[in-house]
Amino acid sequence: MKITRNVIFICFILLLLINTPFKAKAGGLSTQLGEVVIENLQIGHTYNLKKLVNLQLIVTNTSDYAVELKMEVLSPDKSELRQEAEPIPDPSWVKLSQALFKLIPNEKAISDIRLSIPDNDRYLGKKYQVTIWSHTLAGSGGGMFLAYGLKSRIIFTLDKVRQAKSEAVTSSDARVDFKLKPEEIFLEKVELGRVYDVEKNAGIVLKVTNPNEREQIFKLQSLKVKNSMATLVEEYQDAPDTSYLKFSENRFVLPPKGTKTIKIYLNFPQKKEYSGKKYMFIIHALAEGEKVTTGVYSRLYASIK
C-alpha cells in the first residue's frame, strides 16, 4: 500500500515539476506610479485623484504572454513606511474603480483611485501611507510559476484645519502627469572648485514635457533631501547646499505638448570636507496652479573626486 502511494506521489511530482514548460518566458509589469505624495487634504471629503490632478494607476503587462492582474489596497508593513508616515487607519478609505484585469502583452490596466477621509477631527494634521499592490495571478495548469508585482506608495497629509465644505477643492485642471526625465542622474568623479557641466561630462540634460492642451508655466528648483518628500539613499549624504546645483533656466513657459531641454551645472567649492564624498540632490519640477500645485522629482547623485 505504502509503495503504491509513493509511486503515485513520485508520478505526481514528476507531473508537477517536469511537466512544467521549461522554455524560459519573460514576464513583467511596469507603472509610472512608484510613489506619490499628496499634501493638505481635507477631512470629510472624497478625492478622485483623476479629477484632482489627472492621476490614475496605470500598470502595463510587459510580459510576452497574457496575464490576469489584480490590484489590492494594503496597509503597509512597518518596514515599508517612509517619511515618518503612519499606516493608513483603514485601507477601505481607498477604493479602486477596477481591481481585476485580463491583459494581453503590452496592454494597460487603468484604475481610478478614490480616497475618502472620514469626517473626524482626530485625523487633522496626520500623515498616512497606503500601498497599492498590483500583481499577476498564477496561471492555470500545474507547475511552478513566476508571478510579478509592483507596490505603489501613496503618502498623504491631512490639513491641520477644517475647511468649509463649499470651499474644499476636490477637482482641478492641474496635471501631475508631466514628464521630468531622467528620473535618476549618477555623476562620477565630480571635481571640486570648477563648474561641472553635466551635458559635457556625462551627456545628460533634463527634459520637461507638458502633456496639457494648454500653455503651462514650470519652475525648477534644487532641494535638499531633508526639505523634500524623498528619502535619502544609503551611502549618500544630503546635499550640503542647494546653490551648488544650477539649471540653465529656472522658470519657463511650455506650449501645449511642448518639451524643454534644460542644462544642469554642479559647482562644488574647493573644500576638503567634500573630497571623496557622495551627495544626493532632489530636482523638483513644479507646475503652479491656483489651488493645486503639482510636482515631479528627479534625483541627482554626485560622487566627488
Partner: protein
C-alpha cells in the same frame, strides 16, 4: 480707576490679537501633489526548472530566473508564494502534506545546504529582501536600475502525500521603490 480701565483695555487688545493670529494660522493650505517616483518596473524569466523530485527529498532548480530592474529607479524586491490546494508551505523540514520552497539570489547555482529556513524560506506573506533575507552573493535589496539578479529556488517535497492531482505553486516577485 483710570489704571484699572487701562489694564482692561490692554487685556481686550491682547485677546483680540491672539484671536486674530489664530484665525490667520487657521487658513487652509493649498493642495500639493508630487510624484516622487516614476517608472517602477520588474521583469523576470521563468518558470523555474527542476529535475526529478522524490518524496522527502530536496532539489535546487537547475536554472536561475533572471530578475531585471527595467525601471528607472532603484528597487527592492519582495517575495512570496501562493500555496497549491493540497499542500501548505512551511519554513521548516516539511511533514506530510507540507513543503518548503526557498529562494536565494546568487550568481551561480547554490548548493542545497546554503539555504536556511530563517533567511530563505518563502511564505504566503510578501517579505522584503534585505542584506540577509533571500541573500546569497547577490541581494534583492536596493537593486539599481537596469541591473539583473539571478534567483534560485529550492524545493523540499512533503514527507508523504495523498494528493493525486496536479498542483500549481506561484512565486511572486514584487518590486517597490527604494
Amino acid at each position: 480707576m483710570k489704571t484699572k480701565f487701562f489694564i482692561i483695555i490692554c487685556c481686550i487688545l491682547l485677546l483680540l490679537s491672539i484671536d486674530l493670529s489664530s484665525a490667520l494660522a487657521a487658513n487652509p493650505a493649498n493642495i500639493n501633489v508630487t510624484v516622487t517616483i516614476q517608472n517602477l518596473s520588474v521583469n523576470a524569466t521563468g518558470p523555474m526548472a527542476f529535475g526529478t523530485v522524490v518524496v522527502g527529498s530536496a532539489t535546487v532548480s537547475t536554472a536561475a530566473s533572471t530578475v531585471t530592474n527595467d525601471g528607472n529607479v532603484t528597487e527592492t524586491y519582495s517575495l512570496n508564494l501562493t500555496n497549491p490546494g493540497g499542500w501548505t508551505a512551511v519554513q521548516a523540514i516539511p511533514a506530510a502534506e507540507q513543503y518548503c520552497l526557498s529562494a536565494r539570489f546568487n550568481t551561480t547555482q547554490p548548493a542545497s545546504g546554503t539555504f536556511t529556513y530563517v533567511d530563505h524560506a518563502l511564505s504566503t506573506t510578501s517579505t522584503a529582501c534585505s542584506a540577509t533575507q533571500f541573500a546569497g552573493d547577490q541581494t534583492g535589496l536596493s537593486v539599481p536600475a537596469t541591473q539583473t539578479r539571478s534567483l534560485w529556488l529550492k524545493f523540499e517535497a512533503p514527507s508523504s502525500t495523498t494528493v493525486t492531482t496536479q498542483q500549481t505553486i506561484a512565486v511572486t516577485i514584487t518590486a517597490s521603490a527604494g
